[in-house]
Subunit: 301 residues, 2 copies
């Protein structure tokens, strides 16, 4: 990989040790030199165009913002926070120049570093918004360690942000690869992609690949090779990208999940990667699926 | 890997589609041919010794057991369930032959297949025991799809079992590898292991490796190579095993987390793997750390 995946490349030091000190954290929240990134309904505030960039608010200006803050990390000595302004009515957007943008789109507009920070911020803000109560006893929880933990005030249970591992795989059979089309709007665009699915409890990455491919395509898989991984903050997945060898070739797609699963010849896939195939489209370079497909098509997998 | 890691090798078909049918599930729960694995306080019921095996209870006998059931999967047409009997007072253990054993120990006593099933069962039972309430609104949730989901009866939020990705890495510098010793009882046994840590939101596997090694050892890391993965059901981790190249050599251990982090020569590590070194012990083959260390020491990493 010459260039990291979109949403990789977060440059912040997450301050794992500093954030355990509640006094230090409180001082950073009040510090005029700290920087605050507003998110509203999980959309992130951007500044400018071509290139766009994250719209950090200085500590002074952020003092009036209403909403919980979570420490993302440190850079050049300055603490960087996400602040969830979903309940704040202040008009932070200013026409076209400063506006809230969904993180998926933002990932295509900003630098690799800013996209990485946006991914962390979206995952973290979403997790807190959905974990105000204790899953063990139902009572309220409160955030600790700048947002790396929530603890129940009643039963004392600790809760930690979650990251959901997802396998995504290009299965190959010689000069053919297996791509699938989910139900939904993508099916109208001749778009096929790598097969993917959430890992279950109690399985390895390789076992998850074999299970998902069998479930979705009816194909048995032998060797599995890890390629690379991508954070995917919708809401908080880790895409674990693999290539795998098919042991069988007769496709029996799962009709519930998949509209179609098919073998595609390498020449067709190469044309699709160049945007020049009439029958097949593949995901853009924004998605790890693109890079898994390309690596196989170009013989570097 | 000639032999899969302990807790890999679960042979059950997880019945992803069948389990969505509530009538089918209810019939399987009443079916005399179904099999039920009791867990009490997360310990699993075993039968026999040398080898020990999971003590499945038949559908008839299990009808009287008090506690929630979760569908693990299908094998040879029979549904296999875990049943959490923590609240049931029936004396299921019968002396030495049939007894409840913690899953960590059970993993060393039973077959690879049984260990894999025990891992899935422990992770699933634990998750349900800790998720009776909705983290979004604090109201009760109920299990669906045989335990692959819980849904809030009040706000309707869906919740899914979690798997926490953890990186574990042997960092190398030529003929030396970097091993660490956490605080705690292991330090009394000259035991050193691979460095490890939970992945954060918004980072790749490779970024998590670099962050953890920098935090725990003060060492900067370049190339990272994935080796293999292991389910680790305490409570529900996925160990992602890697090797990595050191870019710096001066160790500055994190004093909070680590008692010691040191470089060890390959000859020393080889003696330790054979149980023949006076100064160093490494984890047993039960743990992925053992296989990561061995692969490097034997030159197959």
């Amino acid at each position: 990989m010459n260039r990291p995946h979109t949403f990789a490349g977060n440059p912040l030091n997450r301050a794992e040790y500093e954030r355990r000190d509640a006094d230090w954290l409180a001082a950073r929240e009040r510090d005029a030199g700290s920087r605050f990134l507003p998110l509203r309904q999980l959309d992130v505030l951007l500044d400018g165009e071509d290139p766009a960039r994250l719209a950090w608010i200085s500590g002074d200006a952020a003092a009036g913002l209403d909403g919980p803050r979570f420490l993302l990390g440190l850079r050049d000595g300055a603490a960087h926070f996400a602040v969830d302004v979903s309940e704040d009515n202040e008009d932070l957007a200013e026409g076209d120049e400063r506006r809230f943008v969904d993180v998926r789109t933002a990932g295509t507009l900003v630098s690799a570093e800013d996209a990485g920070i946006a991914a962390q911020a979206r995952a973290q803000v979403d997790w807190h918004a959905r974990h105000g109560f204790c899953s063990v006893c139902g009572q309220p929880t409160e955030a600790l360690r700048g947002g790396q933990q929530r603890t129940c005030g009643s039963c004392g249970a600790d809760h930690f942000p979650r990251t959901d591992p997802v396998i995504i795989v290009v299965v190959t059979d010689g000069d053919r690869c297996l791509l699938g089309q989910s139900h939904g709007r993508l099916s109208q665009m001749r778009m096929f992609s790598a097969l993917a699915g959430f890992m279950d409890q109690g399985e390895t990455i390789e076992e998850a690949v074999r299970r998902e491919v069998l479930e979705e395509a009816g194909i048995r898989v032998g060797a599995v090779r890890y390629h690379s991984s991508q954070p995917w903050p919708f809401p908080s997945s880790l895409m674990i990208g693999c290539h795998a060898d098919a042991l069988t070739t007769e496709v029996r797609p799962d009709k519930v999940e998949m509209l179609s699963v098919q073998w595609f010849e390498r020449a067709t896939v190469r044309r699709a990667l160049a945007g020049e195939d009439a029958e097949l489209r593949v995901p853009a370079s924004f998605a790890i699926a693109h890079h898994l497909i390309r690596a196989w098509a170009e013989g570097t997998a």
